[in-house]
Symmetry: C2
Subunit: 200 residues, 2 copies
Amino acid sequence: MPAPIDFYFDFSSPYGYLASRKIDAIAAAHGRKVAWRPILLGVAFKATGGAPLPSIPIKGVYAMRDFLRSARFHGIPYRQPTTFPVSTISAVRAFYWLQDRDPAKAVELAKALYNAYFTEDLDISKPENVAQVAARFGVNAQELAAALGDAAVKERTKTEVDAAVTKGVFGSPYIVVDGEPFWGMDRLEQVERWLAKGPF
Amino acid sequence: MPAPIDFYFDFSSPYGYLASRKIDAIAAAHGRKVAWRPILLGVAFKATGGAPLPSIPIKGVYAMRDFLRSARFHGIPYRQPTTFPVSTISAVRAFYWLQDRDPAKAVELAKALYNAYFTEDLDISKPENVAQVAARFGVNAQELAAALGDAAVKERTKTEVDAAVTKGVFGSPYIVVDGEPFWGMDRLEQVERWLAKGPF
């Protein structure tokens, strides 16, 4: 079986969320698995001088409109979170902690966190909300809460995020197929072509 | 007949160029005309704090790769210009000067300038190259050269560019259909849907 697709994303990224609803099906259609890799866009922005879209004059106003319209275009449920963007460090730590215990469940958690933030308007910057989402499918909330403050989990998270930025990940979603990078929800079509027919 | 589509673009913008190869056909398929509106992205960047893609660390390297790959994906000829990006003030002035004399020819000039820059590697920042391209279809090169230094032409250009920025144009291409803004080559699919079925 060919190598999995790397799917880098920030839990606070609308386009990352939209892509998260499609990436598994796209990969599966071509016999691929997806390696879900949450990152912290704020760390990447330090390398590129980037800033969260809503903070950018004029472009930010457009972006807020485009999030909603793009969700409708793709037929994906979307509710603009009241607090946006948010820090997602707890969400990312929870993911990597769980990945070391149950990789499949970690992916389930990633999807559940995205859905909670972008369809239920649950503020996933709060550790207790991350724990609440995880508890929905049997993760021990107390264990998770403890893990979020654990030095090893913090270090693991930092290592993963730094490795992504070192590899050139600067946005969300950022997808790598056999070494070829694709940035943005808008590049899913090119990802599909690449998977189907190889380099173009 | 419904109102024309506003097609804002910068002559130095690869994604603007790619969109320029498709926008007329998309509009025509839905009984629309296109109002070609060259702008100066540098002026828009002053309002948003934006910067040319190649100047952005990491993201710039990705963008150079994406220009070429996206051109191949869409089957559009593309040659990365040696000098990039360039000032396009002469190109924009030539366009608006010609528009006041022969609107159809001005659109022809816009397409020819884009093709010259992105397929022939002709540096369209040079007034003599702009004149050379215009001369290919019968524009008097001497008249054009004189117009580029004309105060009224400069003022007309400034007015057009400022009006675009005031309307919220912050990138290239930037397409407005019946008041709805779409930013980026990536949004042509949404433009098509909007034209075909109205608001979504």
